[in-house]
Symmetry: C2
């Protein structure tokens, strides 16, 4: 498809959203300049994601959304795969070897579909309201530990300096935001030595630091 490339990509993001954070790291690693549009998921009662305007952009009422090359894309994994397929400069987010690519995607999915759906603001609000605070803690600890345990296990096989070998890959973009979220939910991370070591390697890299929630323009608003 020949589309006229227009000016800057636009990212709809929320500073604390782990899914937005993954895409922010990818955009930084690919050195893609973009316009940041903050969507306040917690503002007022419902959150800005439920507005008519935003729902038109994404009926799932979630961030991130990336507008790039004249298209709107949702869902962090498809966005990151698209960026890697269409931008060959900067870090290669998926290695060439199909087995290593699969391992990167497995780590990403363990977090994306295995943990994140159980810790997002929407589900936690529901669990809190229906089950109460103690059960909310049990819920979070059960799903986060189940997922993190599986990540720690696969890292025994795939790890180098980073999640899969010695180059940064898509897997690393999922690890760092997830570790941050786990700490916020007071998960005992001392039982995950590989996750910790790799996270420490990654979190101070400039492209990761600039994607951190505290570095986002909407951080100061709350």
């Amino acid at each position: 498809m020949n589309q006229i490339k227009i000016a800057k990509p636009i990212l709809w993001s929320y500073f604390q959203s782990t899914c937005s954070w993954r895409v922010r790291i990818a955009l930084n690693l690919k050195a893609i300049d973009y316009e940041y549009r903050a969507v306040d998921l917690l503002k007022n009662k419902g959150g800005e994601q439920f507005s008519k305007e935003f729902t038109n952009l994404n009926p799932k009422q979630e961030v991130p959304i990336l507008f790039i090359d004249n298209y709107l894309f949702t869902q962090s994994i498809p966005i990151i795969e698209y960026l890697d397929e269409t931008r060959r400069h900067g870090a290669r987010l998926l290695p060439d070897d199909p087995v290593k690519r699969a391992k990167c995607r497995i780590i990403a999915e363990l977090i994306n579909s295995g943990i994140q759906p159980y810790q997002n603001a929407n589900v936690i609000k529901k669990i809190n309201a229906e089950m109460g605070k103690d059960k909310r803690k049990d819920w979070l600890h059960f799903y986060l530990n189940k997922g993190l345990n599986a990540v720690e296990e696969i890292l025994k096989e795939t790890k180098g300096r980073y999640c899969v070998g010695d180059e940064i890959t898509m897997a690393d973009l999922f690890l760092v935001p997830q570790v941050f979220a786990a700490k916020r939910y007071k998960i005992d991370m001392s039982i995950y030595p590989l996750i910790n070591t790799i996270n420490s390697e990654l979190e101070n890299i400039d492209d990761f630091l600039r994607a951190h929630p505290y570095s986002q323009p909407d951080f100061l608003r709350i």
Copy 2:
């Protein structure tokens, strides 16, 4: 990596698991013969997935697992992407165009991370125990409708005969099992005309029929 190719691939599967079903369709579309190993997720109290032997294969204690080319792979999306990258025969599960590839992946993720985590046996058991039967119904209807609504919306843009254009893609492998699950949970599917039309096109294709839960060797066991 040069690995010695050994005999038949092995799929650990449960007949009713939507995630296993997706991979069964992919294997059929690629004409890959495989050994079926049934893992009974509901047997006894805990289910066979919690056995020590199975946990060694997959610490996440989930099906599917595919052993192929001397490697073990988990997670349906990475498995399907791997099959498509390494087997160029049979259906192409992802189109060449990067925008269309992204759209296929978005539809797959809307189901994989957007719906499935809220309807799997493990979470439903928890919701039932903690919130009761009525709330369980509300939970399922909320998350399934939220996800199916987003799928119906994106199909307006991507649809041809199938989910993305006129060729079968990865998106279709996610749609058919999800529609089956939604019907089982008594979701009113009449409000999703595009999903229904495309599902009807797909469900009677031989490679889909042979992957159906009722065609699996473990179906008769319960």
